[in-house]
Amino acid sequence: MTEAVISNGAISLAGVKEDGLEAAVRDHARLVYRIAYSVLRNHHDAEDATQETFMRVLRYRRKLEGIDDPKTWLARVAWRVAVERGKKQPDVSLNEQETGKALSELRAQLASAEESLLGQEMSALLESLISKLPESLHDAIRLSTVGELAPGEIARVLGTTESSVRSRVFRARQILKEKLAALEVRK
């Protein structure tokens, strides 16, 4: 029922009453949270960003005439909120010990054929490598890690074309692979 309320054609969020807003929260809160988390890398900050995203929806709901795709629109709002908050955060940096631990974990995982969980240090190293990518590339790869967004939706969130998103993700992955290989060889 809620899905029908929100995503059935041209829904008017301006005319949506509290039930409609609640339905939007129930349907898209997880997506909003994951988008925020992909940028902020912190559960507490991601939840705050989620709250702020829906507060913005509540504030501007009267001004909005009609939203064709509420999911993408919400994703866009969440992305902006998260990026604004992320600017205030310090950059991720690892010390020598953490980097060494992450690389030994990487080597072990590459040697093993089994899929294993990403450790804390390895996750921090990956985040550090992503954040050093050019802005257009790290935006695309971050949103691509949110499994609920298709390349077309990522393109609408970033205000670009789908092919551009695919290209950016591919380039970002290439750079990351090269950097990881270089790190693996160095140590």
Partner: protein, 196 residues
């Protein structure tokens, strides 16, 4: 980089990126967001609050200004009434409306200027209502009653004017003789002093 190693790295990156973006919210996120939205909706907005604060402060300012204005007006009226009563009292004692130093409210009301604001009363400097209460005299300096001697002289002149004239002439001649004697004596003294 060998193709086998590249494939492994590619697979590992897929897994790593999937796990990297897999941030799961704490249980009950939707409930917390809805509760927060409901609490925000139940609160008056900042704009509404500002309007109320502005309206209340404006009302307080208007009340304060009007009360101060009314207080000053009533004080002025009291002073004016007190002054008018004094003036009216002095006018009553004098009994002359032509010499009124100021126009009183009472006279204005009597003359039928209803609804008009009373003209501002101009009080001359040094004007004392107590002095004004005394009747103004026709002649300056004021005539005093004759003394006993003056009365007798007046009666003598009225009864025997010819004798009075003779007496006056004799008095004048005697006065002249006295003046002559005085001048002669004074010149004599001067010459004696010079001889010395």
């Amino acid at each position: 980089m060998s193709s086998q190693h590249e494939d492994r790295l590619d697979r590992w990156l897929n897994t790593a990126l999937r796990q990297h973006g897999n941030g799961e919210p704490r249980v009950g996120l939707e409930g917390r967001v809805i509760a927060n939205l409901n609490s925000i909706q139940s609160r008056p907005s900042v704009r509404e609050r500002r309007i109320w604060v502005l309206a209340a402060s404006t009302a307080v300012a208007i009340i304060a200004i009007s009360s101060v204005w009314f207080a000053s007006q009533s004080k002025q009226n009291q002073q004016r009434n007190a002054r008018n009563e004094t003036v009216m009292h002095s006018l009553d004692t004098r009994g002359s409306a032509e010499r009124t130093p100021m126009v009183s409210l009472r006279t204005q009301k009597e003359s039928g200027h209803k609804g008009r604001r009373p003209t501002r009363q101009i009080v001359p400097n040094g004007w004392d209502p107590e002095l004004a209460s005394e009747p103004r005299l026709e002649q300056f300096p004021s005539p005093r009653p004759l003394s006993h001697e003056e009365g007798l002289l007046q009666a003598f002149i009225r009864n025997s004017p010819q004798q009075a004239v003779l007496v006056a002439q004799a008095q004048a001649e005697r006065q002249k003789d006295l003046e002559r004697l005085i001048t002669r004596q004074s010149s004599k003294n001067d010459s004696e002093e010079k001889e010395r």
